[in-house]
Symmetry: C2
Subunit: 218 residues, 2 copies
């Protein structure tokens, strides 16, 4: 997973994934210009396994996180990152199971598919509860992420998860105890996004405090 080597950075004049648009507009009659990108909306799911009373997250190596942390050097005219100084684990990111909305399917259906692909649980649609939708960003991208809560059991586990190898996905399923989740919310050494910490706090506030606990958790 975090065995990352041979990192170089090249120019990127035209990207299939990052397509800036220049927006010209008047606000109260004053000319303004802003560069922004139109990107796909997404879904994300906070998953609780009620059999084992733990969270189910995923972990991936994220180049965007890695280059935000590592210093880019120039050697022999090539921009690169020294993976001895900046090992690959710096780019590992704890995430909610998530996917993009790019098909003619409802967000909850896409959530169900992502839970199976990434985490290996075949969960009935009625177990997938909407929490809210909010914006991933406001400056450069303003797409919506639809956030769901899904309760799963060991009996729903039908596969290993891990994402689609055909799409080059390499995803670890991470089980985390309730108490580890509580600590992680405020643990800055763990790369995690705003939406994940919101979802975990929401879980404690809306689900966990009223939930009958297993004897072992009391």
């Amino acid at each position: 997973m975090d065995n990352i080597t041979d990192v170089t950075i090249g120019p990127c004049e035209s990207s299939r994934f990052i397509k800036p648009k220049r927006i010209y507009y008047k606000q109260n009659g004053v000319d303004k210009i802003w560069d922004a990108m139109k990107v796909h909306d997404g879904v994300a799911i906070i998953i609780f396994n009620s059999t084992r009373e733990n969270f189910v997250f995923v972990r991936q190596f994220r180049p965007a996180i890695y280059i935000a942390t590592a210093a880019i050097e120039e050697r022999d005219g090539v921009q690169m990152i020294d993976t001895k100084k900046y090992p690959g684990h710096l780019g590992l990111t704890l995430e909610l199971c998530a996917g993009i909305v790019d098909k003619e399917k409802s967000p909850s259906t896409i959530a169900k598919e992502e839970i199976l692909e990434e985490c290996g649980y075949d969960v009935p649609l009625e177990n997938i509860i909407k929490i809210t939708s909010a914006r991933g960003g406001v400056g450069t991208t303003g797409s919506i992420v639809h956030l769901f809560y899904a309760e799963v059991t060991d009996a729903m586990k039908t596969g290993p998860g891990g994402g689609l190898a055909s799409e080059g996905e390499l995803i670890d399923v991470v089980e985390m105890s309730i108490e580890e989740g509580r600590t992680m919310m405020f643990d800055e050494s763990c790369n995690r996004a705003h939406l994940l910490i919101f979802a975990v706090l929401w879980f404690f506030d809306s689900i966990w405090k009223d939930k009958p606990k297993h004897a072992s958790a009391l």
Copy 2:
């Protein structure tokens, strides 16, 4: 604020603000490529006015939010958005007071400056409490936002806020009651980012429940 007209979209081959990099690397020996951007880290502050017992947020028109909602049409060879069909209020976004870390100053010092510039409160540094730092995104950008809590009083109000007109900023200060804040967290008709709803939920969980209330709030 939301009087938006004459919206056109042009090409954006080279942006001062959006600079994609192409990252080449090997993961477990397998060649991979990813496009991402290196962007500034940021600070954001959830502000509570204890004199009036309300939140202090800001509101701005955000082109990235607007184009995520409005349809782009082509008329006479020009890409544009019809502001009759898609009025400017669709781009209004409720936000935490925030700024970018681009100077040789500590995040809490930058937070203090942003509270004064955007909201008009001159708050002592010791009132600015760190909550946590987390990632704004994981796919395209992976920068960190340092999140703070600041308690202010009416006596600290020394100016109108509203941002720096010299930098073209047009920012409304929004006071919101505690109960409005509670509803807003889950109100999808309000454009707001993941970090804002995390911060509000954190406030209820960590500050509000233990705070002595004014008689009027009981």
